[in-house]
Structure formats: structure tokens, C-alpha cells
Subunit: 291 residues, 4 copies
């Protein structure tokens, strides 16, 4: 028994869980087709679990795959893989760590993709020049262990607003309530949507496109009686549109645009003049499952 | 059966989980003692679960407590409560929503405190003037349902660095490895520490102070063979120092300071000149439990 | 002579410049046309100069227009003005403070517009639903004093990238140089463009559209021998395209995508695998004037 | 005449100003004394002006010092220089570019220092372990051309608050005014202070410490009739305390803590319960000069 172990023997604690990995591995891949270049920019986070306790308890790193080596692995595998969709590349990465290192019991790979549009020049998409599509991200998380592989895809920061067809009334009214019923309010949010695939779709990119388009369409056209109701309607529509989706989770921060009170200033506000506030915000979440 | 319900009857999905609440409720409380003012600044997030499905499925808000009312509740209860520590105020809030609304099955209240020091004037702490203690936060999360109340406290963004007594060697070396063994490296991190109380301590503020001080002391004085080992040592020391702590979880991003290679520039780097990189970063986590 | 003035009489300093105002006034204006809603979101900063020294030196606020009143003014004037372009609204605001308050000698109004696209539903732009166009901003700064009015318009954070047609070689090579010549590199930047109008164009929105489109087109199609050269080419093209522009200033951070060295890992990098770094970055600026 | 020059000959524009450089060069320097380590972390921005127009107009880079070489220069010079204060290191850097490259007409070097405290272990400052002092920065900007060298030092983000001894009344009251007079309000701000030295002080670190301490002391103890007045008082006190300072500029955002209206909720607010708002904020600035 080492002296360290002896010391610990008298301690009243155990390491009940541990994990480690590399976060923020940023990759740009350019694929040079004859007629156009593809330009993919992703950020990869890797977390491994397994037989690593001795690094914690004794500083014995003999089973530790350095996080620097994980970073190298991302670039090596990206040079061998087309990286056409983040789900497929996430699968390659997650399986790699399990296959290569017996001490790994599970790996979780999260990929966040920065989105770019081709620049439009004279009505045509330019073959090698791009403009940022903003702060919305496409995401994928692949979890793999010795028994199971699960793919969760997502959209982060899908920022939308509608200027009418949103009401909120009939809620609990008691001594803590000052909010008036709203018959016609602005509804603005930054949706975060994640979904778990029952089975891989034929094309991850097409499934993503369809889900994003479905969410936007329902948001635009739905008569909303509550943020909750719009959330549910989007979830139902996605489950209907993409049969491979087993489950969908949506978070909707309610990014308030408050009516500016012009009355003390001698004016009427004809539901035209608002001020956005970042905080506080309502946060509504829900998960829908295929039955 | 309403027409909405009829429509949903043909859908193949159910709302399997839902929650909602108010986030980012910012409160400043000034307590005016005869000899000094106390100045407390916190941000509160509230999430409720319960019997709210009809708001999602039918837009029926009759059981919905408006998130605006939750905001009001924070200010009303803060005017009645001393807010001397965030754990006690979190307990008051979490219990309030359960006691007041029968449709609530659980409430989770997260509080993040911005920290201030009194300004030192002529060697004395000023009675009513303060300077920010930076971006480190003290946190508390209280979860309460009809059976259980749990208090988790924490420290976010405890940014520390040491210029020696940190090594990392003996890790897996294979075709993905380029990192050299490090005999004497800079170790910098922004710790996130959370702990769950078995039972409330006599004084939440004193327990917090002792845990913060213990983490800093171990970080400063420990000879580190791996980030993992330092994490474990801090966890053990906290469990030893504060008997009311049942479990502690620590996350340590490894905020690398890389040695700048001066050789191509005709100079030697005597372990003095480094450059910090934000990304990628190693992320090491672990949970220790009292046995 | 007041006692404060007496005290200052013995001081060896004067207040040589002062200004004040309100920043971060956020406004949402919805204009409800019969067939569609317009949705405008702007943030206004106001700074006034004038006869305000006594507030600084004596705490005498009798000539001070409270910044809270400036905020009110933004909302009142927005309710009376169409806010169809930020330049026109900036002009209204800047002139208002001069006209209304004789103690004001100059006013500077900066407006930053968050951009939204209409959601596309079934191939048609939706009449009242919008999706964020990202973090790019349209800006306007109107400066007005008793003699002069100047309008500067701009684009902030126009994030673009091209995967080829960018070189950089032939630069100074000395003992501080390690950078190799680049024959074919990625060129990525977040342009900040501002221009000063000689005279107002017929339509500020059309001028803005044309300038943005011109910048994108030149960036996409130009064979770049240096970031500097691309910057100059864009400036020349804009001055050519929009005769009302007197002067244009462009800042181009060089957001490096560095080639990942796969050789130590036994692979070749066929100019495909890169990693973005945020820091450090080159920063290139230039101003072009019509002669 | 080159074809490029010929093309430009027909253009009606000239490059009226240009500058370029490297921003965000992050440096960590460890100085290993026998009894303690010093730990300095700075970020350097460099901008050069000079004879660089041909890179813009022709893509001729023969006079261009690559920004990558500027980055190298920071690390090389830091290995030769003690970096004990950022002003001295800034002077070395600014002069270097002028001395080394005849095509440079001026150089501006901005340095921002992240501040660290030694960790307190058992009442003693630890010799090699540090905790972040937060988001406040110490800054220096050195401008040098062939005739002149100027040093401007500063403090960024000095976040302070006081709970009493702040009033604001007697301001202009008209149809745009809704703000009430305030007899006793919270005053919170994030000061940005910069000062220009007439001549270098004996010790830049001591001058900085004294200026910071003076600003804090005046803020803490001053009875404020307006943010403007407090700003002026701090400026006067600094000019009095440090004779080498020629001029001081202070910016004070008024980070409002608004009184929460408890009356509709059946409670009284005894000047105790507030909510901070980030936007909008008053922004007050002033410059004081030694006469």
C-alpha cells in the first residue's frame, strides 16, 4: 500500500464520479471541389469517462490520454473524414476514443457549427466567398459507450420575433400579480431546440433543414395563446415532419419588448413604441416524445 | 372533447416534461445599520414544475403563475427577509412557490451573488462605499418538492494561477501524442465548485468562507502531478474541513499558458515567456462524496 | 464668491472638456401597414456638449437636461417620426437637442440597428414574423452644432471569409520574422465600414444597400495581395458607386485561420485543415477620400 | 506607369490615411526571484503609421513589417526587459519600431494588464500562487513619432458603488421630464480613468497606486450632488496628488439601481429594494488640465 493510499485510507471520502476532456477545439475545413469550395467551421468538445481515478487520487497519469492528444485527434480525423455533417463527424470521433483506448468507458462529443452563406454576386452564389450567417449555431452531441450510441442534434440561438398573433391572458391573478392581460403583444425569443434520433435519418443535413424550417414556419403562422403553446405546437410539427426524431426539447426565453408608457409625456402609444429588456426574462421549456 | 384535443388525439406525441419560470431577476438590497450599510446584489432564476400541461397543449393559462408575478415575488420577499446569505433567501423563495400554489410540484431557485468589498479609506473599511470583487460569483441552488429540500452552494469563476509546483508527465504516448512531458509548468484555472449540504451549517456565510479559503490554500500549496490530482485534493480537504458537506463537485478548465518558442528568433526561453490561449482548453471534473 | 469657488480658486486645474448623455436607449418600433408590419430595433446613444461646467464644479444642475429626459425624448420623437432609416431619425434627434436647449452647443447621436429578415414561409416573406439577421449592425452617427450637420453611416461586424484568391508575400524579412510567404491562404475578417456623406442621398436605405453589396462583391471577387489592398479596392469601389459619399474608412481585423501542422502526426495537410485563432489579430485600417 | 497605377489614375479618390498593426498579443511573464515569483499578464496592441501606401494601392508589401513579426517582437523584447511596469515596456516597444524601421513615422502601443493578487495562506502572501483581481485593468498607451513621446496611463472598469451621499436634483424640468428629484440614491459606476504624464514619474507603479487610491477615496467620501461633480472632484484630487500628471480624463457610466415600486404589491419600499439595469445608462465624461 503506497503512502498516498494509506493517507487516503484514513479519509472519509471517495471520488464518486470523474470525467475529463478537451473543449473549444476549433476547426476550419476547406474542401476544394472543382467548381466550388466548401467551408466548414466547427468547435468540438470531448469528454471521456473511464478508468482514470488514479490520476485523481495518486497523480498516476499512465492511463490518461492527454487532452492535447484529443485535440490532435480532431485534426487528424478531420483530414480523413469529409465532415459534411457534424453528426457523422461526431460519430467518428466518439467511436474512435472507445475503439482506441480500452480504459475509456464512454465518450461524449459535442460539436457546434458556425454557419456561413455563400456571398451573392450578381445573383449567383460565389464559389469560394462567404458571409457569416450570424450567431445561430447548429449543434450535435454524440454519446457512445460500450453498449449504446446516441445522436442528439440541435439549433442554438434561433432568434425570432413576431409583431402580432400573440396573446397571454387568463393566468393566476393574486396579490403578487401586476401584469395586465395582453391581447396583442410582441413575441420574441431565441429558441434552443435539441432532438434525439431514434435511428439515423438518410441525410442529417436535410433533416436539420426541415426541422429548422418547420420551427420557423410554426412560429410565424401560429396564433399564440402562451409561449408554452407555441413551443408545444413546434414540437408536435417537428415530430410529424421527421419520423426519425424520437424526442424533441425546446427552450424559449421570452425576450420581452415592453410597451413604453407615453402618457406622462402627453402622448398615446398606439401599440407601436416598445423597449426591449434583456433581464429578467421568462424561460419556458418542454420535451415532446413520440408515443 | 374540444376541437384542439381532438386534433391532438390524432397526433403521435406527448408532452413528456415541462417547466417554466423567470430568469435574470436582479435585486439590490441595502440594509441600513446605524454604523454601516450592507450592500447585496443577486440575480435570481426560478423554475417551477407542476400541473401546467394545459398551457402547452391548449393555451389554457388558468394554472399558470405569470413569470412577471415570480419577479414581483422576489422583490416582495426580499423586502421582508434580511437576505444575509443567499442560501436562506433561496430556501424562502423555493418554499414559497410550493406553499402558495398547489399546482406546483417542485421549485428550483438559483441565486448568483456579485461580490463587493468595502473600499479601504485610510486603513479602514468604509461604511457605505464598495468596490467590485470581480467576476467571481457565489451561488446557491435550492431545490424543493413536496418531499425534499436540497441546498447546493457554489463558487463560480474562482480564477487562480501558480507559476511552479505543477507537473504533467507519464500520460499515454501514441501516434496522436505531440505534447512533451512537463516538469515545471504554469497551472491556471477558473474553478467552479459546488457542494451539497447534508444538513444546513450553523452559518452559511462562514461555511462558504471556509470552503473558498480551503480551495485557495490547497491550490496554492499542493505539488500538482495532474490537474486531476489537485482537484481531488481540494475536494478531500473541503470534506474534511466542513462536516455538513455531503458531496462536492469541482470543474477545472486548464487555462493553458504555452511556452513561446524563442529559438527561431535566436533567443532562449528560460521558462519565463508564455502566451495564454483561451481555446482549446482541457476540462477536468470530479465529484467526491463523504462515505 | 461661494466657498466652493474659493476652494477651487486655490486649485491648479481647470475642466478643459466635458460632455454627457444617455447611452443604450433601446427602441422597438412596429409600423402596422395594412399588408405588413415593419419591425425596427435600434439602440441610441446621445452625447451633448455645452454650458454644463457648473454641474461639474459646483453640483449646480440647473442647466442639466437629465439623461432620463433624453431617454424619454427618444421614445416621444420615435412615436412622431416614421423611423424608416436611422440617418433621418438621428438627424431629428440631434437637431432637437440644439433647438430645444440653448445651453447645448453640440449634439452627437449614434444609432445602431439590429437587423431582421422576414421569415420565409412557403417561398413568401411573412408579413409580421422575423428572424434575426445576426450580429452585423447598421450604424449612423449624426453630429450637429450651431454651424454644421454631419452624417456618418456605417456597417459594423460584416463577417466574411474566402478560401482562396488571397496571398501575402514580399514583406520585410529580418531577425524578427518567422512568417512564411503565403501563396494561397484563407482571408477572413469582420469589416467595420463608415462613410461620411457630402450631401444626403435620395434614399439612405438604398445607399446603404449599395455600399454593403459593393463591399461584399469586391471582397468576393478581388485577388488579394494584402489585406491592405483589398481594403483600398473596396474603398475605391464604394466611392465610385455612390457619388454622395465624401469619405470612407474601413477597418479589417485579419482573423487568422492557421494551417494545422499534421506532419508530426504522420499526415499531410493539403491546405484543407486549419484552426481559427481570435488573438492576436492583424488590424488594418485606411481612409479614402474623394478628390 | 504600371497598369494598376493607370487604372487608379482615372479614379477620383486618394488614400488619405492608413495604419496597421497587431492587436491582442497576449503575454505572460514569470520572473523567478529567489524568494518569490512575479507574474505579469498583459495584452499588447500595436499600430504603426508610415510609408505603407503601396501595400494598399498596389499590393506591394516590400515596406510592410508583417504583423506576425510585431507579435514576435513583443515576446523577444519581453525576454530582454523586466516588464515591471507596463509604461516602461510600452516605451521600449514604441521606440523599437521607430528605431528599427525607417518607413515608420509613428507607433502607438497600447497595453492592458490583467491584475492578480497573491493568494493569502495563513496570513501570508504566497510566493508563487495568485488569484485574479477581477475585470479591472491597468492600461498604458505610448505614442511615439520622430519628434514626440507621450505616455498615457489608465484604469479601466473600476467598478464602485455607494449606498448613500448621492443626490441629483434641480435639473431642467420640462415636458420631456419624468424623473423625480433624488435626495438619497445609490451611485454605482465603472470608472474609466486615463491620464497623460507631463514627465515620467519616479515610479510608474507608485503613481498608479496613488491615483487609484485617490479615486477610490474621493468616490467613497464625497457628498455627490451630480455624477459630474464627483468626476470633477476626483480629477482635481488626482492632479493635486501627483504633480507629474498633466491632464486627466474620466468617464463615468451611471449604472442605475432603480427603486422597485412595491406599492401595487401592498408594501412600502424604505429605500432598500432596488433593481440594477444595464441599459440605458447615463454617460458622463470630463477632462481636467493642470493650469
Amino acid at each position: 500500500m503506497s503512502s498516498l493510499a494509506a493517507k487516503r485510507g484514513t479519509m472519509s471520502s471517495i471520488l464518486s464520479h470523474n470525467a475529463y476532456g478537451k473543449s473549444g477545439v476549433r476547426l476550419t475545413k476547406v474542401t476544394r471541389h472543382p467548381d466550388r469550395h466548401d467551408f466548414k467551421e466547427i468547435t468540438v468538445n470531448i469528454q471521456l469517462e473511464g478508468d482514470f481515478a488514479e490520476s485523481y487520487t495518486d497523480g498516476d497519469n499512465s492511463r490518461v490520454v492527454a487532452t492535447d492528444s484529443m485535440r490532435n485527434t480532431v485534426y487528424v480525423l478531420a483530414s480523413e473524414h469529409p465532415v459534411e455533417d457534424i453528426e457523422s463527424f461526431g460519430l467518428v470521433l466518439a467511436k474512435h476514443f472507445l475503439d482506441k483506448y480500452e480504459q475509456v468507458s464512454s465518450s461524449a462529443v459535442h460539436i457546434s457549427e458556425s454557419l456561413w452563406h455563400r456571398i451573392n454576386v450578381g445573383g449567383k452564389a460565389h464559389p469560394h466567398s462567404f458571409v457569416s450567417a450570424g450567431n445561430e449555431k447548429r449543434t450535435a452531441t454524440v454519446y457512445a459507450d460500450r453498449d449504446l450510441v446516441e445522436v442528439e442534434s440541435g439549433i442554438e440561438n434561433l432568434v425570432v420575433a413576431k409583431t402580432t398573433d400573440s396573446k397571454f391572458s387568463g393566468f393566476v391573478r393574486d396579490e403578487f400579480t401586476t401584469l395586465a392581460d395582453a391581447d396583442d403583444r410582441i413575441f420574441a425569443t431565441a429558441m434552443e431546440i435539441t432532438w434525439i434520433y431514434l435511428s439515423p435519418p438518410a441525410d442529417f443535413n436535410k433533416a436539420y433543414d426541415l426541422i429548422r424550417q418547420t420551427a420557423l414556419k410554426v412560429f410565424a403562422t401560429h396564433m399564440s395563446l402562451a409561449v408554452q403553446q407555441t413551443l408545444n405546437e413546434i414540437g408536435e410539427a417537428v415530430l410529424k415532419a421527421v419520423p426519425e426524431v424520437a424526442e424533441i426539447t425546446i427552450a424559449m426565453p421570452n425576450q420581452h419588448r415592453l410597451t413604453f408608457n407615453l402618457e406622462p409625456l402627453g402622448k398615446k402609444n398606439k401599440n407601436e413604441i416598445f423597449y426591449p429588456v434583456d433581464e429578467p426574462f421568462g424561460l419556458i421549456t418542454g420535451t415532446l416524445k413520440r408515443t
